[in-house]
Symmetry: C2
Subunit: 399 residues, 2 copies
């Protein structure tokens, strides 16, 4: 997997006319560069440099204690062990490779491309000072954004597996949720099913799933509470699993039927239908070349046109090894995200679409995952078509 990704990186570097991409790390178990798991399968315990050059070759400059472990992985074309002086050893590498444009992992806007610590940036300045080639530093954002964003067929399959497992657990929950259960109990149920399927939660366990039950619950990233399901409550569950290194991230809407009800109340139903339609329209609009800002506007303008307020977060984000996988994002332009929303989508990218509407019965949320094809977009998840109705007196409404 890492060797494949390094080949992909070399191709991107060549296309972008960059001489070398350098990932500089040390004691990576403590302070990781988020791109490292994509290009290495071991932790480094000393100052180390992972290099990809535009001739398609990869190399690691490593401490002597790490060298054998790196060699065992078989990932890199070359492993060079330095003695006491990392700075001169790295300067030599820059000079030998005639590097005049050097891409390193920093970005003001994209966390996934911002793995270089400021201390190591200062060290790198020393290295450039003593090098003969004195390369120009540029951000590796364009490399990392494509490398993480554009999924191989293997990666796409792994994402679908992870989605299918999460969808099974959402279905399992229909047999458990009923009047009287608390947010905490629902969280425990999902946690037990996650273990049952031998997978991990897609993000921080205490907040995965996020359970937003009824009008008292606070939307967003927080832990479940003692809030109890009552007749007429709507509930949004935000959940995903990490399976074989890849994540899913979905939201599903459940409704506790009131006495005599055989469908959700009109207010909730209309909100759900609006979200479903917004996702459908946006998915039909998405294709290579569409920017994140444009995709966000497509969904947001539809929801607002139906008389609802605009939600105060992004329409969607990429998914991969992390639930929020960095790079391009589907959101309105703000001071801090310009490069992330102006980027055009490309074939092979995977996004969530997750608009939401607050109602008097609770928060209604829907989140689907889509894959960008050559000419359009396709759902990776199976879109929720109907609210999951739950009878207040039985595990599931049979109507």
């Amino acid at each position: 997997m890492q060797r494949e990704k390094l080949k992909q990186a070399a191709q991107i570097i060549k296309n972008e006319n960059i001489d070398m991409w350098l990932t500089l790390v040390r004691e990576s178990a403590m302070n990781n560069d988020p791109v490292l798991p994509i290009i290495s399968s071991v932790d480094f315990t000393a100052l180390s440099a992972v290099m990809v050059t535009k001739d398609g070759r990869s190399a690691v400059l490593a401490g002597n204690n790490d060298a054998e472990g790196i060699r065992q992985t078989g990932i890199y074309d070359k492993i060079i062990v330095y003695g006491d002086d990392f700075r001169h050893a790295l300067a030599d590498m820059l000079d030998k490779n005639h590097v005049s444009t050097l891409a390193v992992n920093y970005s003001i806007e994209d966390v996934a491309s911002d793995g270089l610590s400021h201390g190591l940036f200062l060290l790198l300045q020393d290295v450039i000072e003593i090098s003969a080639s004195k390369p120009k530093l540029i951000s590796a954002e364009v490399i990392i954004s494509k490398l993480r964003g554009i999924k191989s067929q293997t990666e796409k399959k792994l994402l679908i597996q992870s989605i299918e497992t999460a969808e099974k657990i959402f279905q399992d929950a229909r047999g458990f949720i009923r009047e009287g259960v608390t947010e905490k109990q629902i969280h425990e149920f999902f946690t037990a099913r996650t273990k049952h399927y031998g997978v991990l939660p897609s993000w921080q366990a205490s907040q995965c799933p996020g359970v937003m039950l009824g009008p008292q619950s606070v939307p967003g990233h927080n832990a479940p509470t003692e809030i109890t399901a009552c007749k007429g409550d709507v509930m949004d569950i935000d959940f995903g699993v990490l399976q074989n290194g890849y994540c899913s991230d979905l939201q599903r809407t459940y409704y506790i039927l009131g006495d005599g009800e055989d469908r959700a109340c009109e207010e909730v139903q209309r909100a759900f239908d609006t979200l479903k339609e917004a996702i459908k329209r946006t998915k039909e609009y998405m294709k290579p070349g569409v920017t994140g800002e444009e995709a966000d506007a497509a969904a947001r303008s539809y929801v607002v046109s139906q008389g609802y307020p605009s939600w105060n977060y992004a329409l969607g984000h990429q998914v991969g090894r992390m639930a929020h996988d960095g790079g391009m994002v589907l959101a309105p332009k703000k001071s801090h995200n310009k490069s992330r929303v102006e980027q055009p989508m490309e074939e092979g990218m995977v996004f969530t679409l997750e608009p939401g509407i607050a109602t008097s019965r609770g928060y209604v949320g829907l989140e689907e995952m889509v894959y960008i094809t050559r000419n359009g977009a396709e759902f990776l998840s199976t879109p929720q078509q109907e609210i999951y109705l739950l009878a207040s007196d039985s595990p599931e409404h049979q109507g």
Copy 2:
């Protein structure tokens, strides 16, 4: 725990006459600051600032989606939610607190104090530009180094638990290792016992334990191989567990008896005795005020005086939430570690002592853990006094 550590941080800040300590993060599940688990129990999903001021108060500037989850933790005195403009919100915080000296997490030498990414450093420069107070930036290395290094009594107890569990597993292995077992089988045995005790490996699972068996095995951080235990082989096992958030890191020496042997061969025995004596002498030398360079020299000069070469790595490192816990280190001074080896040790710090000697029968290594008291040092581990002798034809030599 985090609230206690924030109080400790406030005290350090006051003593150092720093106005504010700022930890700047975003999407911390992807790109973590290594100090974050010490001062937060949740992941952040948006740009966030954790602040400690010299009046002893803590605050978080958080995105609206994270605020409720942060409030639930009860860790901070104040939570401020910003809208769209993080930069101005943070500049306001600096101005309101009259901050003229601002400590942030960067360090060329200490990875544990270098959690600020270069992209966020650039963003912080913008914030300072728009602030009225225009604070001077300094490295938070002095804060983080003390915060991580000086253990509370609770932390000391947790470290001892973690050591005791690792020691049990080292003892269990004496009933398993014999002539004919491979490095991989030994690794599997330790992995199974680690699971049995309900704990995790102290570092990367594939290299924990590190097994260095016989003269062919490569010392350092690498995965076990098919190398098989033969009569007369000496073996070093480098292992520790992560239990309740705290790590152990120890090395033990085993010897496969040859035909007719009832003790290790003289070459191995003499190397072992030399290491044991070096550790004992160094432990007796250590006390508050001794520098890392001095402690390293105490052990190294003794081993060299016995006719052995100097080993090419540090004598020891600190241990805490990580097996290599950053900050002060016991090592010879080099171009990249000046601030880390010139620092004096303080009461409450925990170090490994791990010299090693290569012999014709394999690598002999010993690693103990010591705690710095007011007047000296005490062992947290139970020092290995004798080589663990293993009969070649039975699980353990009974002599």
